[in-house]
Symmetry: C2
Subunit: 360 residues, 2 copies
């Protein structure tokens, strides 16, 4: 067995320790004679697993009491629908910020269920920059303000939580949740597909404040209805039990590693090293305005694009996997989630330097 360094944007690397634990448990969890996958979600065993995961998540993020932590299916894309379907029931209007491909998908879907006001749009700047908050055009009244703190594809990140008049704040944190400490109390709702920093694809976390549960549109399907899901403790129907269990192992791992403060420092060092390597070369480039650069997803291009395939092939041979950029952006992308060790970044930087010496 030889694990390699995996820079995939998602589904992404999981901590090796977590996978080792899962491997050990796979056919027989704690001597009970069956796999976690084979347990009733209503069994004492699985209820214990589920509760422990929720408690650990609350502890890691210091989630205040008035929030529900929902473990659901459907990915962030299902939340693109669930957010307007659940929250647009007051004015039928919402404010959205467009900072990249994921924001714009959320916007497109929200428009199907209500009126969307585009507060600011990074598209004319190719999602590499954004107007300052003073220039954002907020609605007089909106049911919520939606934004994407980190754009996985473009590598565009808002490092500060914006002070917006159109509360509550709703954020797609698919690629940042658990990568650093977070003041959850600033948000009305946070959602995240698991397959970056949380667990396997097929699990989605939703943190939603109690007072937002009762303003749904009439047409919201049962499995997207926050109030129903909250009242049933995420067991309105069978949840993705194995993903929930794996997320729980990831939470335990995060606690053993020292929590989100330690992760934040480590992630900052990883990103700083990679951006320094890019900026220090005349060969690699990242197009995003420095203040908006993502700590999680670092896209970069080569001075000579015809060398892309050679770069990727050499990387694979060096045990550096999944560095190809998103098809809509091209070039390269290195995702530096929690489970990507600092040694992976060192190896990548070493490889980049060598490649530049050879071809630059």
């Amino acid at each position: 067995m030889s694990r390699r360094y995996n820079f995939c944007a998602g589904p992404a690397a999981l901590p090796t320790e977590v996978l080792e634990q899962a491997q050990q448990d796979l056919l027989d969890w704690q001597g009970r004679g069956l796999s976690v996958m084979e347990m009733s979600h209503r069994s004492d065993e699985f209820q214990g697993i589920a509760r422990q995961a929720q408690e650990d998540l609350c502890e890691l993020l210091s989630i205040p009491d008035q929030y529900h932590c929902l473990f659901v299916q459907g990915g962030a894309t299902a939340q693109f629908s669930a957010v307007p379907l659940n929250l647009m029931g007051l004015t039928g209007k919402a404010d959205y910020l467009n900072t990249g491909l994921w924001s714009s998908k959320a916007i497109e879907e929200a428009r199907r269920f209500g009126e969307v006001n585009l507060v600011a749009d990074g598209q004319p700047a190719s999602y590499c920059s954004l107007a300052p908050i003073e220039q954002w055009r907020f609605s007089e009244a909106a049911d919520y303000f939606h934004y994407t703190p980190n754009e996985t594809i473009g590598g565009f990140e808002l490092n500060e939580i914006p002070e917006v008049p159109s509360a509550p704040l709703v954020a797609d944190m698919s690629s940042t949740l658990l990568s650093r400490p977070l003041d959850v109390s600033r948000f009305g709702l946070i959602y995240a597909g698991a397959q970056k920093n949380i667990g396997p694809a097929g699990l989605t976390l939703v943190l939603v404040r109690e007072d937002l549960l009762d303003r749904a549109l009439a047409v919201v399907p049962r499995t997207l209805h926050y109030r129903l899901i909250a009242d049933h403790h995420s067991m309105l129907n069978t949840p993705p039990t194995y993903g929930w269990y794996l997320a729980g192992l990831v939470f335990q791992w995060l606690k053993r590693e020292g929590g989100l403060g330690v992760m934040a420092e480590r992630n900052r060092r990883k990103a700083d090293k990679l951006y320094a390597a890019i900026d220090g070369s005349g060969f690699y480039a990242n197009p995003v305005e420095p203040q908006y650069r993502s700590r999680m997803n670092v896209p970069f291009t080569l001075a000579d694009g015809t060398l892309n395939d050679a770069f990727l092939e050499g990387a694979e041979e060096s045990g550096l996997l999944n560095l190809r950029g998103h098809r809509s952006v091209g070039g390269m992308r290195a995702s530096l989630y929690n489970a990507v060790p600092e040694a992976a970044v060192d190896a990548l930087v070493g490889y980049m330097n060598e490649f530049e010496r050879r071809y630059g």
Copy 2:
């Protein structure tokens, strides 16, 4: 490691061989240096896994060309919404048959999106019997006819595919799909949560005929929209990749075992043995009219209900897990899905006989 016999109704037993393969692959799939969980769904590796699973499914069920096989999230409960949202776009009406708790949940949800005509209702007979088809009250015009061939909770099964005037036929086959050969061409749409005979919870299969893809209501969320999902080959958004991979391993196992004909025979033998033990005793009873008895889920009661806990404790000690009946029905339930070996049923019958001798 000692695996026990698991009679859980779902999430349910998986074949031990499948779990062993998954265990071996867990940290490093085929020497690629990463887990299947850590692969991009768009990678060549995962695309190959996904395609193979789809091909094997089509082969096992002899699925005709004009059907799409969708691998989605949300469980059968999400399909309770997706079916009316996608198919009620012509007349706004549908025919439903009520044979148990799952049918009635599907009906309740469909009523939120259109008009439901109840063709026949097993509820007055406590879901143990049903009016013959000649007495069913079909609509003059309906967008589809929905039924639940097997009710997991009540253990009520329609063994024959009904000949209904209100085509297309839509079936929730969560607990029977892959347990026997099936003439898919008789159906417009079949859906099934994976956690019975297919794979882990969090994956749902939808087989839908091409001509039904373009009659959706305007308010269908993206992740429930059959046309969009089909056009994107179930990769409109990140699919539940690990569940898809495990389902693929189950399909391979089914092929090695000899296919669905072999499964049908084995499942019939298992059910026959258990019903014979129940009927042959004066101590155990199953309330369902014999022609409607389920081959997959066998509920039974003890002559003296105060012995339930003693029965269950003794069963656990004998390595027979998860025999408690659904909370809405009480008593016991043994689910006999594909992955439950015949030896498990023999052991259960042996235990039941012994318990009866001791307490009967």
